[in-house]
Symmetry: C2
Subunit: 330 residues, 2 copies
Amino acid sequence: MRMSDVAKVVGVSAMTVSRALKADASVAPATRTAVLEAIAKLGYVPDQVAGALSSRRSGFVAALIPSLNNPHFSLTAQSLSDRLQDAGLQLLLGYTNYEREREAELVRTMLRRKPEGMILTHDGHAPETRALLTKARIPVVQIWDLPPAPFGHVVGFSNSNAMRDLVLELAAKGYRKIGYLGETDDEGTRGAARRAGYRSAVAELGMPERITAIGALPATMSDGEKGFAQLMAVWPEVDCIVCVSDPLAFGVIGACRRRGLSVPGDVAVAGFGDFEIGRVSQPAITTVAVDAAEIGRASGEIVVRALESSSLIDNSHVDIGTRVTMRESA
Amino acid sequence: MRMSDVAKVVGVSAMTVSRALKADASVAPATRTAVLEAIAKLGYVPDQVAGALSSRRSGFVAALIPSLNNPHFSLTAQSLSDRLQDAGLQLLLGYTNYEREREAELVRTMLRRKPEGMILTHDGHAPETRALLTKARIPVVQIWDLPPAPFGHVVGFSNSNAMRDLVLELAAKGYRKIGYLGETDDEGTRGAARRAGYRSAVAELGMPERITAIGALPATMSDGEKGFAQLMAVWPEVDCIVCVSDPLAFGVIGACRRRGLSVPGDVAVAGFGDFEIGRVSQPAITTVAVDAAEIGRASGEIVVRALESSSLIDNSHVDIGTRVTMRESA
DNA sequence: CGTTGTTATGTTATCGATAACATATTCACG
DNA sequence: CGTGAATATGTTATCGATAACATAACAACG
């Protein structure tokens, strides 16, 4: 069933039906009701594929996150989806699995759908990605970090500074032998930025670096056991373990408990991200709070605004900030 | 840039370019290389919006899950996405926020995109939803439960039977006063099915029902504290608390610990779903294991198969089963 | 060497909506 | 009451690809 079929039933032209479905179009109130009634009665569903081709507006905004299965990114995606929906846009979501090549491939796939905007989680990008997006001439937002050489808009925070702040505060609390537990193969990623923050903090404090990496991206709760063992094998003296994320910290705390070590009595543990797990953990996990939902909302906002004003000129640069949150574990 | 532009450069017709991009089309090898080279050089990106209109194949499969922010559903979504990608299909994901009205609205929105298949997480559906989908004449898969009156295909398991099995096994282990902690306002949902399973088990065992509900869907780790208090206020005698999900069980264990109660010494706790949290929790949580990823894979498989054979006649009915998994907490 | 079949390519029409333009109708105001 | 503005609706062309059909080139075979 097409618009013209509905039009025939009502006794108007297809164009009038199209107008009746657009909120701002000028249609006589009586006509609009008649059309809408007919649509409801017939169960007509407009074909947005055709509409998109004709109007050159797909109504899509594409977003790529590293993983659907990570509360941080899914929160961001959820609030992004909400914000877009308010503006009548639909989210086209993909996940890169933390792989740059997959990201490039996905960008290609997504661009075929003619999205009106694109949102990327910054973890470094393949050179091709950048070229493709520049050519697409749509607003691009990089999220979840402040990239050194951003293209397009940015909504994030400095993973490096945030981690640095955390380590400095831990040192101020009296910890002297602070170790770091991160992920392997993390060049260019947010995890690497956090590690860099740790390094800059210990350098500033005149402390030696004590860095260990476990497992592939992303570190999970289950990695805590091995990570702890590995770290302790090399630096048994550490009095505080800073982890690249809360789930990993939770896993480390479990490993401590299993060894009869008290946290933070024998060894302190800190995480990053303020995941729910850190709040309900016992002890509750000292961490850096990040407003994942706000990243989604704000990046959606930027895309919507950019589309309204169609000014691709000025790129916003939003630092949503972070907050070191001391809890029981350190 | 359009196909005809590429065609002009290569010196062929647009149709030949189109064919060169289709794996199975008959094009001379030399022509194909020439076309692909030109496409790479020009950075041409095919317009799938136009392609979809013309070929009447959108390349989309829509899926609705209750929440992106739930490891179960995001796992399902991830493996579904993978399976679809293998078949050259793209996942169009939406989340209902556990609201039937929102689901109906989303189904309407999604259908405008002419998806080739639709996957719904069963939590009961608005009557409209069913009507819309029947009219759409596309394969539909209901997942995550075995609905009493399914339409379309089904990939799931009996939430009710699974919970019944768990309670019976707990009784066999010697627990005599088994309570249940679920969600409020859960009519028609998977949670309600689990509660029904509990009721049928205790009825069978000749035990009284001890049911409490906390918070809105879905129950979270943070609900554990209040849930435990509420249950204990009414049935202080319980020796085992069965929860609608692992995260809630984890929260309950935390509440016990805070009160100095040992689990399972003073009170046993069981969950449902086999989330990662249950595995790393101390004590590890007794639960019902569900293969969330397999639900995604299998439902994607069904859609892909249905599209290949274009036989909408026979509806598959896949019970992926569950496994009671006894661990330390009960 | 002519007929038939296969492979490679071109041409035309079409998918279903909407932008852009054209026209009819109504209304306000001097 | 006539002119111009505002409102309501219709008509035509178009978005960019691909299906369907048409045709050209060439190979195989008796």
